[in-house]
Amino acid sequence: MDGTRSAESPVPDNGGEFDPKEAARILQQATSQAQRTFDLKRPLIWVIGGAVTFLAYGALWFSVRDQHPYKGPSLATIAGVYVVIVVAIAVSAKMLQRATKGVSGPSRALMAGEGIAVVVAYLATAVIQGALHHAGVSPAIVYGIFPAAAPLVIVGCTVAGSAGSRRDWQMFGGALAVVSVGIAGLFVSAAASWAVVGIGLFGIALVAAIAKAWLQHRKLVLT
């Protein structure tokens, strides 16, 4: 491994003979390697996550696009989306476990607290959906506009609050963008709501990927 050779090379302990260009290279390499190891919010992850979300919402839209009157996505589509969600959660948990191996400190507890808050926010939308069904609200709301758009508004606000409290302005901005997409999804037809949300979330993921890549590059560039 190149890094091992560099780290073990017999350079004077005071660094006197250590070329600044070589120092810049090592600094960039070590930072980049550590970012790849610890940071799950990498550009490629954003793109993959955005594409999976787009396909899931696209499948839901596809199953309802010609419904008159609106009845809601087919059971097969919903089951397929749940399988994707379960697989995505399992893969994310495995990646998180690998990335945070050996890491301890306040960020772990914060991450767990935020995770619980997001799950509770999702469950809250399911409870409200049940209440709307119980109240006899139309299927276009109960099985269309509400499940497509409301989770984005509720969960987005939850994440924005958490990100703002720890001054993570990138996450704060992203969460507000998600809330905006959710609001846009509330003001279109039930079928269109799935499409608006899918396209909106994919767009946010792409912007996040580009922003992350640019920030990483800017932080690393020394020469």
Partner: protein, 99 residues
Amino acid sequence: MTADELDPLIHVPARLRIVATLAVLPSGDALTFSRLQDMIGLTAGNLITHLRKLEDAGYISTEKTGNGVASRTTVELTREGRAALEAYTSALRGLLTGL
């Protein structure tokens, strides 16, 4: 600006790798000795030597928990360590711009 202005404690390949790796973690977070060793690729003895120098300078803090086989040592970059790396990076950038 000359290379002499670069912090000699950080301006060593192994210690630069150690500090740069720990700096990526959020402030207050620590990394186990074994994971750091895996990432840096140094022998345990070499890593201990470099960590001791950084700890003496107040750039890192270490904590040992447990006993015997279950013991675990964690390493954390201190606020002074982060400031030192920022100053080093800034000095390095200035030096390279002038080349």
